[in-house]
Symmetry: C2
């Protein structure tokens, strides 16, 4: 059974039936990454705690800023790829860039989740109080951004698996 392809023929043979799912996946990733960026950018809420005004926004933490930056980078990168001619000869470079992209998105969402968990539940051992009761709108935005970022990450993970599968049959019984 011949189920393999040399990489020389990889790009050339990217038939329409293979390019359409890839295009749709990139479109999904683009929508999710842009949504994540915008939802996080617009996250804002304020509350009065003990008479002091407490304002919550994404710039309050370097982790949220990192999340915005990574999702913005993913958006721009995906946008460029969508307009790249399909017969482009950067197949390998794109595979490596896709890998880096999924790692950056994975990293940004994990960092954000760790911080969000403290924001939601606090940490009694460290004396950090939860803040979501005070600024529920901010927490809702962060939650929304995390969901969108998660979809972008999953989309990129599938893009990567799909690219690998196009280069070599991942589901072959042997190999």
């Amino acid at each position: 059974m011949i189920h393999l392809k040399t990489t020389e023929s990889y790009i050339a043979s990217m038939s329409l039936s293979k390019r359409i799912p890839m295009f749709l996946l990139r479109l999904l990733a683009l929508g999710a990454a842009i949504s994540a960026t915008i939802i996080m950018l617009t996250s804002h809420d304020s509350a009065q705690v003990f008479g002091m005004k407490f304002e919550a926004k994404y710039t309050n933490s370097p982790t949220f800023k990192y999340f915005v930056l990574m999702n913005a980078i993913a958006s721009v990168y995906t946008l460029i790829l969508l307009f790249l001619p399909s017969k482009s000869s950067f197949g390998h470079l794109i595979l490596v860039l896709d890998l880096i992209m999924v790692l950056l998105l994975d990293s940004s969402i994990s960092a954000c989740l760790a911080l969000g968990q403290v924001g939601k539940n606090g940490n009694i051992h460290a004396g950090w109080l939860p803040i979501c009761d005070q600024v529920p709108k901010f927490c809702d935005h962060v939650r929304g951004a995390l969901i969108a970022g998660f979809i972008a990450t999953i989309a990129y993970f599938i893009i990567l698996l799909y690219s690998l599968h196009n280069v070599m049959n991942l589901f072959a019984l042997k190999n």
Copy 2:
């Protein structure tokens, strides 16, 4: 210029000169992942704050527990692979598992870094005070675990690039 390989011949042609760097990279990843696990597991410090005993250990946060779990999984996985016969026929599966491993390690270290940043600098907006002045030994351990975890992640990233390079020449000018 023939610089390509079909995947059929991938495993069979994994010559000694290619298996030795891979073995060394896995050995590095194993050492780093085991170190990260042990350093985090043994992180412990306590302090008296306002007359109350404050104890810092990794079980205080789900993020640190997640870090320990992921590095333990990476250790066991790497150990199994080191003892797997070199002529094994799970090439593609291992590539995908390596990808998942680098994503899990990346995720655990990013989450831990986000939490560590709050532990070190606090967050004035959320009213979270830094804790590293009170429990410096704990913070040193977390820092050490993060460095070891980072080395394991980088090792797995290189393992992945190297595996991809063995399947298809990543640095070919064309493609």
